[in-house]
Amino acid sequence: MKTRKKLIIGLLFILPWLIHLGVFIGYPIVISFYYSFTDYSLLSAPEWIGLDNYKELLNEDDVFKIVVKNTLWYVIVVLPLNLIVALIIALLLDNKIKLLSFFRALFYAPHLLPIVVVGLVWRWIFNGEYGILNYILSSLGIYAPPWLASPSWIKPAIVLVEVFLVGQLILMYLAGLKNVPEEIYEAALLDGANWWYRVWKITLPMISPVIQFNLITQLISVFQVFAIPYVLTVAADAGYPVGGPGRASTFYVMYIWEKGFTGFRMGYASAMAWIMFIVIFLLTLTALRLGRRWVFHLGE
């Protein structure tokens, strides 16, 4: 009896969340799978077309191929870069330095700005003619490319902006680093361990849960990049709805949006979303499986 009463009370407390789970997450996920097998223009009811969306995506849609390449390039470059840069900065900060709070705030601050602000400031910095970056480059005698107008240089520009935003990762690493007990380092020092050994054999394993957490959360968010490339390249007179010069910076979610919301092909867009979901799901699973081997939990 007691248990039953507690069950009801517990469920009552989480009732809002249960509704959220069902209505705002669960049902949409299931129904989007259904939509992916339909042609749905919103003007009329969804029409079942079986695997046609998937066939078209994989065989006929040339833009899709470019979009997939762009997104894969982006993930392979930005994911490790963000994780490593943030880790290095966190390791540097974890040294009892003066003005720690100042530096920490400085590295985190960009993450706090509205993302459109970040995009626009960098859009100005990257400006081909009057941008400050090209001025610095040319006065150093280095080639100053028309960053945002060039299909070859737009991607590196986007990468640079994303690195600017690693502040949150840095803080996460710092939290993990703070939790490493001093005694371990002291013992290692007494044993004559040098800095490299300390970092590789002690620090990294001790913060491996944080590394894994960051890896997974970043994986999920990096695949869905949208705002920065959009703001860097948006132009009313461009020949494409979203995504930079010649589709060079059209990424996956941008293309989903384009097909679904400007092209009125919700079914097609849903199929795209599910392909991405499966890829992310498999990668996350892999990260978790691998984690069981190299993630070290204190107290195990």
């Binding site: 407390f13 989480i14 049902y27 040294n95 330095i97 960009p110 509205p114 400031v121 999920i220 996956y252």
Partner: protein
Amino acid sequence: MISKFSSSYHIVFKKVKIARLMLYIILILAGLMFFFPFFWMISTAFKRIEQCYTKIPVWIPKPIILDNFKEALKWIPLLRQTLNTVYISFMGAIGTTIASSLSAYGFSKVEWPGRDILFTITLSTMMIPFSVYMIPLYIIYRNLGFLGSFLPLWLPYWFGGAFNIFLLTQFFKSIPKELSDAARIDGCSEFDIFWRIIIPLSRTALALVFIFHVVFMWKEFFLPFLYLPRQDMWTLSIGLQALQGGTIKAPWNVVMAAATLISTPLLLIFIFAQRIFIEGIMMTGIKG
């Protein structure tokens, strides 16, 4: 003996000193790179247009003008969009604070079968990419007639959010069991315990959830972009990107002035609530 010690001591001391110097140099260089865009945004915001579009950059504007800020008001209906942004931010923050704390209480302070499984499911929803369910969600809102209003941007949060539930559950779990047990013996209902004991003890965590949501919504671009087609409903972020994405582009000094204006509330919150912010994020790092 003494001189032998002191010479090797000096060598080690010097090595450490050089290493530390290099550490500071790298940090300062990296810091400058992170700081520069802020500096450049503000510098451009106070410039006359000729000093903006020149081949040789003007680092510090002379004279410093305020006109760009007034100009920005002509390009962006600042008041309207600020109200819109404030509205959805605060409405969502209030909702998520209430709903997430209720849910967190259910996940932490009440023992019921299936609780931990459901909690794990809750956590795993954070790993589902939004793109997977964004289309049906849009269609649901459309069918409910929500698309002409702000509802899609704040209503869902009145049913809780996975991250906030996670944060608050961990926090509530750290409140000693004895407090709730004693109250139960005294005949308090679970809701009483929630309202009179747990909530007052959780002020910091609740403030954190609230502020985080306000900041999150203020910064956000994609969600308003998705759900707000009508120009008079635009948030500040959408209005801002229209300065370069619209048919007529605003000059860069005006754009930077607008950007500075829009960022200021967030930076102010950060300066005053810095502690809460950094502690909050680091708390998730530890629990994560």
